[in-house]
Symmetry: C2
Amino acid sequence: MDGKGATSGRGILFILSAPSGAGKTTLAKLAISKIPGLKQSVSYTTRARREGEVDGKSYNFVDKAAFQKMIGQNRFIEWAQVHGEYYGTALDAIEKAKAEKSDILLVIDVQGAAKLREKKVDGVFIFVLPPSLAVLHERLGIRGTEDVREREKRMETARNEIAASKDYDFLVINDTLDAAEQEMEYIIRAERCRLKRRSLDFPDYTPHS
Amino acid sequence: MDGKGATSGRGILFILSAPSGAGKTTLAKLAISKIPGLKQSVSYTTRARREGEVDGKSYNFVDKAAFQKMIGQNRFIEWAQVHGEYYGTALDAIEKAKAEKSDILLVIDVQGAAKLREKKVDGVFIFVLPPSLAVLHERLGIRGTEDVREREKRMETARNEIAASKDYDFLVINDTLDAAEQEMEYIIRAERCRLKRRSLDFPDYTPHS
């Protein structure tokens, strides 16, 4: 029948977004280490690998020719060019995880998430926010930034990102990392109990069975 | 801001149904004892109090005249007459709990739940099922029943109840009581993180704040 219920994956796609500085990368790592049956979806990028980043884990690092070829092959469910570099989510990784009944956690910016919604991708959209405006300012470094332009730019970005949160299914408040991870876990395990995701083993139920 | 997040109630109405013998009463009791901010909604009935039942806890026991007066005052969100006795869910208890930001667990049969859905009551609908057909038969006493008519009647009821599960939001599988209670808890705490139920404390967010 239904296997281990809320403890095993079902091929559900979880989409995680947050303003910069809300701690989404750390939170995603923690969630994946703690929740069985949940895997991170690894994006493709053409930007240079930074120190500490691992190819195939942080990103799939490819060159521009390879990325453009993938675009031509329709292999991305969403992609974007930011400051001249490409970023994209490949369809095949998600299809593969779905086939294996792993749940997938895709960390993506608000524009990428909006594209997934436009394409009616069946996913659970989660937005992470710090507990207050004051904390957000602090984490974004807005309070400590002397440069007025830089300050304005960061505020503008944060404002747009917060405005985008209204299109998500769930809000996770990242007050402490533990509490935020707990909330993520509740959401992921509850979604595994959703009617449409549980295959009922009562197909041939008849009065004479 | 948002208080204790997934640990405190938000005035959400959770509706719990199950076939007879699926263990919904025990499960509801366990969930209420374990999840802070969750209260049981107590139904009204005109049937006689059974041994072990407590007035105001198991049911609000009232006489027929009182019940009919409440019907006339539109005080029920749903009511039904079964074998000559009245059963009903009063609006005031739910309104009161909502005002207090308690979450409410309402244990109700599939017909009652259908009426709530018809009235577009904003609730989270949870259906509890045993893990398999064999276990259901066993728990319903179908296997041990010699009387063919009684057997048919129980099967018919179970079949109708299982068919009704398709209109619910979540399925909880009552394999062990602990696992089922865990699933209930995931669902309740996750719903507390749902976007529409979290009041964001970023109302006056402006670029110059």
